[in-house]
Symmetry: C2
Subunit: 469 residues, 2 copies
């Protein structure tokens, strides 16, 4: 199959009118959720639930068939059973609907030959009818700025991070968890079996989409490896592209086949192909999120000279290991910075180094935030990592207030920094409700200021190292 | 220096009476915290604050000097300045105090030759006076069953997990974060500069300590590498030993020297030495905790056959990759299990595999917990990973209750499983307060039942793979 030219998918992600075939009045069902999500996300155009047995669905007037819908429709979302899809495609073609999304599943992924044959017929009918097809077996679209989402509880913040996912549950997890990390999503698509709108086609569109600044992709199997490679190359030439290629192992590929009917492809080729395309490889959802956070919230480091502050002695040693093992040069404190410290804390000036051990500074009148500012101003560093060291604060009287104050100061330093500064604040691994509340609160405050936060210094150093190229 | 034979350290970790030199009435000070911690942890013997200018400290009668303390003292904790330590050692020797812990710092770690000379004098005085020395420059002891802790807010649960740490802030983090992961601590020591009670000496004691079932160790530098190796070998012959060796890099070693005056040692030798000793290496605090959780809460897998359930299709593919990449064989579903599934859900029996994709099962009357039970009963697996897939539950009506119900059922399955079952429940990466509360609640419920919980399937598979040996 030759790679198709990138189509104009603007009306896929930002349809002017949407019909939901198989819309349902039953609250706990996809046929209700797709309609309800349009309401929750403030979709501005007409919404047409298709249901021959209902007057309305979630407050929208229902229609017995697509043919009876009064206006033009840019997108039809199908929650119908697989057996009803060929008829729906015919109706879409008749009404000149440009985009059909099949949430409908149970096609080739089941391993059943009849289901696979039906899938081929569906694709042929779409091609013949001029209907572009997203899916089947995918949750479809999440584009908060366009008022559309595959689940009503997804984050409503809008941004410039695009994400393509073969898997639906992975798309939901990345959307929810990424949002909590500060990712603000633009165009997200879960393409499932990816029959027509393959990841390559979607990537080519996103590559030139002005709303999209960063692209993440979760791919299990690829029928057209060359096409995906070329699309990756095209996209990575315009903006950062992160690729999580799963189904790398024998067991993973077997599982992928039963999931979205995808051939996972030669595992050993993909890391090389991704790198050659100029994209960055993630090997887990965690790595994908860490890289997307970095690409979205941090400038690309211009070199390998790393400044590290905060945390006690153990954290300093661990930070140095993590930075050097990820290719950074933990450059000793410049002499000028040392003299600036000497002016305030003469007894510490010859002792402190890079990483800056916060426990040495305790009580000296010089804070690690203060030393970080001096290091940033020195021009001797290309990137920085600031350990919050929250466990230390929490053990002190008024620890909550001290922690909040230090984080607020650190956030201001990050905002005005001339180089990327990643903040390390642990996951909320405590059973103390008070500690939980304050750690969550300071993390949320960083995120609200668009600061990149990593749960460990190793993850921060790894992500910065990959992004530095 | 020749390795010393393992001393009897029972009275170090479980002293019958404790004196705190440099005890303070000032609440936000170590001299107050050490006294207060003894109260908070219910220390049962006499507590003697030493402070010539106070009547009492935290409700305990204060004494002007160690000499004036009326009873025997097993442990003296020093918060005095370094300049006062030689005199304190003399007083300890005169009173036949067997153990002295120097929280006192600013010795050789400062890089100052005079401070290093004083440190050598302190050690010589201790050896001459028959006083065993913990520290200097360390937080000292946390042994909740003995009523002693280096911070009053540490967890009070008692258990059989021992931990040695060169770094104080790392010891605090491991104690707090490990507790939230279900680690219940026995004897924990932050030995700082480790002059006399080196990690080797401490390890030899813990190796034969009946209270200790699992040993973790965080080591930066080792003056006596051969001694540590022999102690690791002795300990690993008795119980699981996890070693996080930091200061592996040039920058890390430089940082370690300014932290606890330790030479970090030839980096490339330690992974080999740790493995040869029969211990398991961690390369970060996160890996250390993941391994300690596994060693503490999971039986060692007897082989490499892995069962995986739960989560949707993407999670299944990612799980298969993670398991195979960590040396497990993701054995296909046994025929007998497939037939048992067929009896309940004939249309799914030929579709589902291992990993068991929860989204395929939805609505079938067969749950992934149910399939897990069948797989466990088959005798065809050596270990299992159960993905909770919480993000899927949370999007449904009554998602909280459904999630709690499924987790409660899963916990019961884990408790009666004949092989180790690791649960995967994500970090609480959401900004929704309701989601936060329910995810924290179900994690706490697993932990309360002593079930090993990992934030990602990759971390679960990695830890199980290392523990399987």
């Amino acid at each position: 199959m030759r790679p198709m030219p990138a189509p104009d998918l603007a009306r896929l992600f930002s349809p002017r009118a949407v019909a939901v075939a198989g819309a349902s009045t039953k609250v706990d069902s996809p046929g209700h959720d797709y309609v309800h999500s349009l309401r929750v996300f403030g979709f501005e155009g007409p919404v047409y639930p298709i249901n021959p047995r209902a007057e309305e669905v979630d407050g929208y007037r229902a229609y017995p068939s697509l043919a009876t819908v009064p206006g033009d429709v840019d997108l039809v979302i199908s929650c119908l059973p697989a057996s009803a899809v060929l008829d729906l495609v015919a109706q879409c073609a008749a009404k000149r609907v440009p985009f059909l999304h099949l949430f409908t599943a149970r096609f080739s992924e089941t391993g059943d030959p009849d289901a696979a044959a039906l899938e081929r017929q569906v694709l042929a009918a779409c091609v013949a009818g001029g209907v572009r097809l997203l899916g089947p077996n995918g949750l479809g679209l999440y584009h908060p700025a366009g008022g559309i989402a595959f689940r009503p509880d997804l984050p409503q913040e809008c941004g410039a991070v695009a994400f393509l996912s073969q898997s639906g549950n992975n798309a939901v997890e990345v959307a929810l968890r990424g949002n909590a990390r500060g990712l603000r999503f633009g165009k997200v698509a879960n393409y499932g079996n990816g029959l027509d709108l393959t990841p390559a086609v979607l990537l080519r569109y996103l590559a030139e989409d002005p709303e999209t600044a960063v692209i993440g992709a979760y791919v299990e199997g690829v029928p057209d490896g060359r096409g995906l490679f070329e699309a990756l190359k095209a996209a990575a030439g315009h903006k950062p592209v992160i690729v999580h290629k799963a189904g790398r192992t024998v067991a993973g590929a077997r599982s992928a086949a039963s999931h979205t009917a995808a051939l996972a492809g030669a595992a050993e080729l993909w890391p090389v192909a991704i790198r050659q395309a100029g994209a960055i490889e993630a090997r887990s959802q965690e790595q994908l999120l860490d890289l997307m956070v970095g690409a979205s919230l941090l400038a690309k480091p211009r070199g390998r000279r790393m400044a590290v502050v905060g945390g006690g002695g153990g954290r300093s040693v661990q930070s140095a290991d993590a930075c050097e093992e990820n290719g950074f040069d933990v450059v000793p404190l410049p002499a000028a910075v040392r003299e600036q410290v000497r002016a305030k804390a003469p007894q510490l000036a010859d002792w402190i180094g890079n990483p800056v051990d916060q426990s040495i500074l305790a009580g000296s009148g010089v804070s690690s935030n203060g030393v970080l500012e001096l290091m940033l101003a020195s021009g001797e560093y290309d990137a920085a990592i600031a350990n919050v060291g929250e466990d230390w604060f929490l053990g002190r009287p008024e620890g909550d207030e001290r922690l909040k104050h230090a984080c607020s100061r650190l956030a201001a330093v990050c905002e005005s920094a001339p180089i990327p500064v990643a903040v390390v604040l642990g996951a909320t691994e405590t059973t103390d409700p008070g500690y939980r509340a304050v750690i969550d609160a300071v993390r949320d405050a960083f995120i609200a200021r668009n600061i990149a936060v990593y749960p460990s210094v190793e993850r921060a150093a790894w992500a910065l190292g990959r992004l530095a190229g």
